[in-house]
């Protein structure tokens, strides 16, 4: 009995000692500025047992300062055939650090499935205390085990710019004979490495990281925050074993998973030959088979077990006509092989994030697969999940980044093509008439190429005529207008070209008063970017791609007017690009010529004011009105 009481007392004391750590008074004041939540403490531990097995213990505590950080108060963890969640514990504390609630794994809800067509065995454990008395603190501990791995989780101490970090620690334990590779980004420290029974312990720490305000045109947060990435040298999943020290070896490992699944049904191989026999030009053959793929298959995501990494055999895709990126790429590979064209399965990181794929760090940074067809002089890239792209054009989803080509000889890292200023064009010619009441009738011819045609081409190829017209009627920044007719042609090609003709009427485009007519000569191409310089710039400026816009506008106005106010022409040349415009008025005809070009690049924070001024000038100048006055 005495022992019990003693024990009880000890427990209480221990508990108080522990929870006082989460009292909000212990948060350094400078971490609170611009913060929505504070990471009070974190320990992320990875214990690697061997090439295929590891456990991860993650404990973290967040003090949630306001409701904007509520999503971070929620615990979410994914699991599937290769990741299992062994245990979860959650605790809730009030502002003083007093524990209010506790939750165990068995009380945590299990979510999965998708209402859409995707088929997957991924599920999640999800929990929240749904507390609303701010500030409050949540602490979660989870233990996961990995069974099969060819990637390792990394460490990101400052998840969000609105997060202050008091303390965070990352520990990796490796067994004897295991080589761990790592790379630090935006992190100046070095790990403390100690020996441990023949193996090693690596430890990274971070302290007192202040929240940051996001700024317009800065690089994505994921590119400026501190990050330590890991990669194993030996890899193993579902019985497949390999090495990841070089891209070549990683490619060999992927080939084990993905290769030799390219057998086509005999009649399909025959059909592929029949379709292409008439052509000598290999590009024609590729184009024909790619169109065949686009017409006969559709994308359905199927990720079940090792199927998350391994393509469905080509034979099955040939029969069913659907699959995910792996399955469709592998199928296209098989079709090309059937007509004697060699190609390569290319793993890649898609979207904006993929632009930052690190070629110097061999690791699994990839989430997508495309096909690379090397030709005598150049290379044709095929996005096999798209039913609308022209053969050889990638668009902004996978352009300009490293891709790992995989074949029986291993892996080779190459870059996908990028598109330059003269390939990303918007060339527009507007012919318009102002009627007596101020209404405008116009016909606009526009040529778009490369990245500038991506979104429009996607709309034109996927929407019905009715939806296209609806989109056109909401596309322009005009008071009240109607698109009377819309026609377009696509010229396809390696740098696709799209031509459109729009006929539109704008009600009350010009303001007609007793004596005057107010008219904005720039009818359709006005810049929407208006940057504000309101504080000291912290981050670099990043402009994502090169482009060139040019406009020629002629507007016939009612007779009997003379010019009263003619806007001044502008010619501006900066390191970010150039802008110019000029105006003329002659024989009741207004002429306006405008060009803008942007250069991609990353610029230091000190350049921001100049950039803001550049865009400000464009924004203002695009909206300048010309004033005409009735002749006396």
């Amino acid at each position: 009995m005495r022992h019990a009481i003693l024990f009880f007392t000890c427990f209480i004391i221990a508990n108080q000692g522990f929870s006082q750590e989460y009292s909000i008074v212990k948060i350094p004041v400078d971490l609170l500025k611009d913060a929505n939540f504070i990471k009070r403490a974190e320990s992320l531990e990875i214990n690697i047992k061997d090439a295929g097995h590891a456990t991860i213990k993650h404990t973290y505590a967040y003090t949630i300062l306001n409701d904007k950080a509520d999503p971070y108060a929620e615990f979410t963890s994914y699991y599937d055939k290769f990741v299992s969640i062994e245990d979860i514990e959650g605790k809730l504390f009030d502002a003083s650090g007093k524990e209010l609630k506790r939750v165990k794994k068995k009380d945590i809800s299990d979510l999965g499935g998708e209402a859409g067509m995707g088929i997957s065995d991924n599920r999640t454990k999800n929990h929240s205390f749904y507390h609303k008395d701010y500030p409050y603190t949540v602490e979660y501990t989870s233990i996961e085990s990995l069974n099969g791995m060819f990637w390792l989780p990394g460490w990101v101490p400052q998840l969000s710019n609105a997060m202050g970090v008091q303390q965070s620690k990352f520990t990796v334990r490796t067994p004897a004979g295991y080589t761990l590779r790592y790379k630090e980004y935006n992190y100046s420290g070095k790990p403390v490495i100690t020996d441990n029974n023949g193996g090693k312990i690596y430890e990274w720490t971070a302290e007192n990281m202040k929240p940051q305000k996001l700024e317009p045109m800065m690089p994505h947060w994921s590119r400026v925050r501190a990050h330590v990435a890991l990669a194993p040298n030996q890899v193993e999943i579902a019985g497949f074993k390999g090495n990841m020290t070089t891209w070549k070896e990683f490619g060999s490992f992927l080939y084990q998973l993905t290769g030799n699944r390219d057998e086509l049904p005999a009649e399909m191989a025959m059909k592929a030959k029949q379709m292409t026999d008439g052509f000598n030009d290999p590009y024609k053959k590729i184009d024909t088979l790619y169109k065949f793929l686009q017409h006969n298959t559709r994308y359905i995501s199927i990720q079940l077990g090792i199927g998350g990494w391994q393509p469905i055999p080509a034979e099955k895709v040939a029969k069913n006509g659907y699959g995910d990126c792996k399955a469709l790429t592998n199928y296209m590979y098989a079709l090309l092989r059937a007509v004697g064209i060699g190609s390569k399965y290319a793993v890649i990181n898609s979207g904006d994030d993929g632009l930052y794929t690190d070629a110097s760090f061999v690791s699994n940074q990839f989430d997508h697969v495309i096909l690379c067809v090397p030709m005598a002089k150049d290379t044709v890239w095929l996005e096999c999940t798209s039913s609308i792209l022209p053969a050889g054009y990638l668009g902004d989803f996978t352009y300009n980044r490293p891709a790992l080509l995989v074949d029986e000889t291993g892996g080779t890292l190459v870059r996908t093509p990028t598109y330059r200023k003269n390939e990303n064009l918007q060339v527009r010619q507007v012919e318009a008439i102002i009627e007596d009441g101020g209404n405008l009738k116009a016909r606009a011819f526009t040529k778009y190429t490369g990245l500038q045609q991506d979104n429009l081409q996607n709309l034109l190829e996927t929407a019905s005529r009715e939806d296209i017209m609806k989109a056109m009627r909401g596309r322009f920044d005009l008071p009240t207008y109607d698109v009377v007719d819309y026609q377009h042609t696509e010229n396809g090609g390696r740098i696709p070209e799209l031509l459109e003709t729009i006929d539109l009427t704008v009600t009350g485009y010009a303001q007609v008063s007793g004596k005057r007519l107010f008219l904005m000569p720039n009818v359709l191409t006005r810049s929407g970017v208006k940057l504000v310089v309101d504080s000291i710039r912290m981050f670099d400026v990043e402009l994502d791609f090169d482009y060139l816009d040019s406009d020629t506008v002629t507007i016939r106005v009612p007779t009997g007017y003379e010019i009263e106010s003619m806007p001044k022409p502008i010619k501006l040349e900066t390191k970010f690009g150039a802008y110019s415009n000029e105006y003329a008025y002659e024989n009741d005809m207004v002429t306006y010529i405008r060009t803008v070009q942007q250069k991609h690049g990353r610029f230091p924070p000190s350049d921001y004011a100049e950039l803001a001024n550049f865009y400000q000038t464009i924004h203002k100048s695009d909206r300048v009105k010309m004033v005409l006055r009735k002749k006396e």
């Binding site: 029969k319 929407a463 008071p479």
Partner: protein, 680 residues
């Protein structure tokens, strides 16, 4: 749960009167059945002129058949057969070959899919090639607590292919006969639904849609059902078996050439315009016995809901456990109104919405109170309970949000309702309250609730109406441009907002910070004008209307020879809200509006007014829209006022065009400029 009670009752009735120990088997066949896989070469070439040219796929036919079958569990089950044939018209229509069938399940059972078969047909060199759906390519996933989904992608789908599928769903949940949508994302050449219902079940049919109602064909016939049931008293252990003879009514509805359902802006939901039937079990009757009403009048529904443990039962339970907390929360609040407001704010500020709506609570009140999380219903039922506990008259009101579609006032269809609010009477005055929205003031409902009919659930239930055309939002703006020290003018702009506009601004501030308001003003200002200072009033007093004021400086120096001046400085409307030139469905706006702008501009020293806009008035049909544009120029001050009122919320497609034209005139007028000239 309700099913079992009825089940026992009916079985007894069947015992007494309906017993016919004959070896008769129910002979049932859908007389309108079409054989699976009957495709002709001609099917591939048919082009229907009715289908719009943009359609990516067309449903050649869609047939549903719902009927009953006796079970071995002593009751009936519902069988639903679906047969569809779809033609893929373009490459983008390939996704019409993807299918997801939702199945409900709970502790009592689950809806089972059986006899699922599918084929894709192509025409190749004049021959029809069939590719069958492989059973291995059918996947089943658990989606939510009571829903699982069966998914499959049809094989070999491409432009020109015809897809055919057939499946059967077997369900123990008799309460909801499968609804039927005659209209969907793709046009349908022929949509047909047949229900065959024994006369001892009666279902109410709730019809909706913007197209002419479907053709109806009725057939009456005699049918036989065989039911088995375990009999614990029977020593041999064999099942009891009953054969029931009944009159049955078969109704077949058919629509042809149904266009795809399209979305438009300014409608509550396109679902309201979809041609669709729903069914609800209304009563059961056996032989010449009294009909057993399941749910058909509001008093009956109210009685049932009030006795339901997931709805009203909590009001009649002993809720003494709440007393201490209520005392704590209302201490120092002298009046009933003060107490009600304290309880309301507590619920609104502390409760987290974590679940979807519905009209049933997800937990016992005690748990809801402890966890302070759940659905909108949980929040508002709890609020109702709190208000009752301090002695106020408070009751729940069930409604359907605008997005959820309209309700049928005259006939209670419970699954039309998806939201619950609270009605309280305080000092003789009626208030409607919703504690689920953290930005909502006392006595206000969210705009989503203004969807017409709602039902107050109490012993004597009654309809209440939340009509959008009873709401009027406004924005009143006063602009003052006075002579500046170094520049020609300095301006001040002050606005007052209607309640929902105030709420929208609060939401913006909450999500993007106060700076966002300044950024938005900057974007609207004329290029030469600079924003100086922004202040807001009442941004945290949720019950009150907001105010906003800011200062601007138009950057004109005293050297300008001629000035084109916009009197409304960015407060004017710049784009027509009604973009589309024509309209299919009526326009439904969330409220009526009034915008008034009064601008006073001092003529700067050394300048004359060269040109002023002209006075102008415009009315839209019977003052449904009013626009008055006035101008005065006295003693060196120009006063321009613009008043714009829209006095109704619903406009027919024909009126839409007029409304759009009305706005285009308003916009042009509001964007006119004043011309000042420097005196020479």
């Amino acid at each position: 749960m309700g099913n079992f009670k009825i089940c026992n009752y009916i079985l007894i009735v069947v015992f007494l009167i309906g017993l016919q120990p004959l070896l008769l088997f129910a002979q049932k066949k859908n007389p309108y059945v079409i054989k699976f896989g009957e495709i002709s070469v001609a099917d591939f070439s048919t082009v229907n002129q009715v289908i719009d040219s943009g359609a990516q796929a067309v449903i050649l036919f869609d047939r549903g058949y719902s009927y009953f079958r006796g079970t071995s569990k002593g009751w009936f089950e519902l069988i639903f057969e679906r047969h569809q044939k779809i033609k893929i018209l373009s490459g983008n229509g390939k996704n019409a070959g993807n299918f997801s069938i939702l199945q409900y399940f709970n502790a009592d059972g689950e809806e089972k899919i059986s006899k699922l078969k599918g084929s894709t047909f192509h025409l190749e060199n004049g021959k029809i090639i069939e590719t069958k759906l492989n059973e291995k390519d059918i996947y089943k996933e658990k989606l939510a607590r009571n829903i699982s989904v069966t998914k499959f992608g049809m094989p070999n789908v491409k432009e020109g292919a015809i897809i055919e599928i057939h499946y059967t769903v077997q369900s123990d949940f008799l309460f909801n006969l499968r609804p039927w949508e005659f209209q969907g994302d793709y046009p349908v050449l022929e949509s047909e639904y047949t229900t065959s219902i024994p006369n001892f079940f009666s279902y109410a049919v709730i019809k909706q849609g913007y197209l002419p109602i479907p053709e109806r064909q009725v057939r009456e016939f005699v049918n036989f059902y065989s039911i088995r049931s375990k009999n614990e008293l029977n020593v041999t252990g064999s099942d009891d078996k009953f054969n029931i003879r009944t009159n049955e009514t078969e109704i077949r509805w058919k629509m042809t050439n149904v266009p795809a359902l399209k979305d438009e802006p300014f409608i509550t939901t396109k679902e309201n315009y979809k041609s669709k039937f729903r069914f609800q079990l209304s009563d059961t009757r056996f032989s010449d016995g009294e009909p057993v009403n399941v749910m058909s009048t509001w008093p009956m529904v109210a009685e049932k809901l009030l006795a339901d443990e997931s709805f009203g039962l909590c009001f009649s339970q002993n809720n003494n456990w709440l007393n201490d907390d209520i005392k704590r929360l209302t201490t120092g609040q002298p009046t009933n109104m003060d107490k009600a407001k304290a309880l309301y704010s507590y619920m609104r500020d502390k409760f987290s919405i974590t679940r979807n709506n519905g009209i049933y609570v997800s937990n016992q009140p005690r748990t809801i109170w402890k966890e302070m999380k759940g659905s909108v219903v949980d929040a508002n039922i709890m609020l109702t309970l709190l208000l009752q506990s301090i002695g106020l008259e408070a009751d729940p009101v069930i409604l359907s949000t605008r997005e959820n579609g309209r309700t049928t006032e005259n006939y209670p269809v419970i699954d039309q309702y998806n939201y619950v609010v609270c009605r309280a009477v305080i000092d003789g005055k009626e208030y409607f309250l919703d504690a689920s929205n953290p930005l909502l003031g006392f006595g206000y409902l969210p705009l989503e609730c203004f969807n017409g009919h709602a039902q107050l659930i109490k012993k004597e239930p009654r309809s209440v109406f939340f009509n959008a055309d009873k709401l009027k939002e406004y924005k009143e703006t006063q602009i003052n441009f006075v002579k500046g020290n170094t520049t020609l003018w300095e301006g001040e702009i002050r606005s007052k907002f209607g309640y929902y506009e105030s709420m929208a601004i609060r939401k913006k501030i909450k999500e993007n910070g106060k700076d966002e308001i300044g950024r938005e003003i900057t974007r609207a200002l004329p290029p030469e004008t600079e924003l100086k200072m922004v202040t807001t009033d009442n941004d945290s007093v949720l019950d009150a209307h907001m105010g906003l004021s800011y200062k601007v400086v138009p950057n004109y120096t005293k050297e300008e020879q001629i000035i084109y001046f916009n009197p409304f400085s960015g407060e004017q409307i710049k784009e027509n809200p009604f973009m589309a030139a024509e309209r299919k469905y009526p326009l439904e706006m969330p409220y009526m509006t009034k915008q008034s702008i009064v601008s006073k501009i001092q003529v700067p020293d050394g300048y004359t007014v060269d040109e002023l806009p002209k006075m102008f008035n415009l009315k839209l049909d019977n003052s449904q829209g009013i626009f008055e544009y006035k101008i005065q120029f006295t003693e060196g001050v120009i006063k321009i006022s613009s008043i714009l009122e829209i006095n109704r919320t619903n406009f027919s497609p024909a009126q839409y065009v007029k409304l759009r034209d009305f706005f285009s005139v308003v916009i042009n007028k509001q964007n006119q400029q004043i011309v000042f000239k420097k005196k020479s």
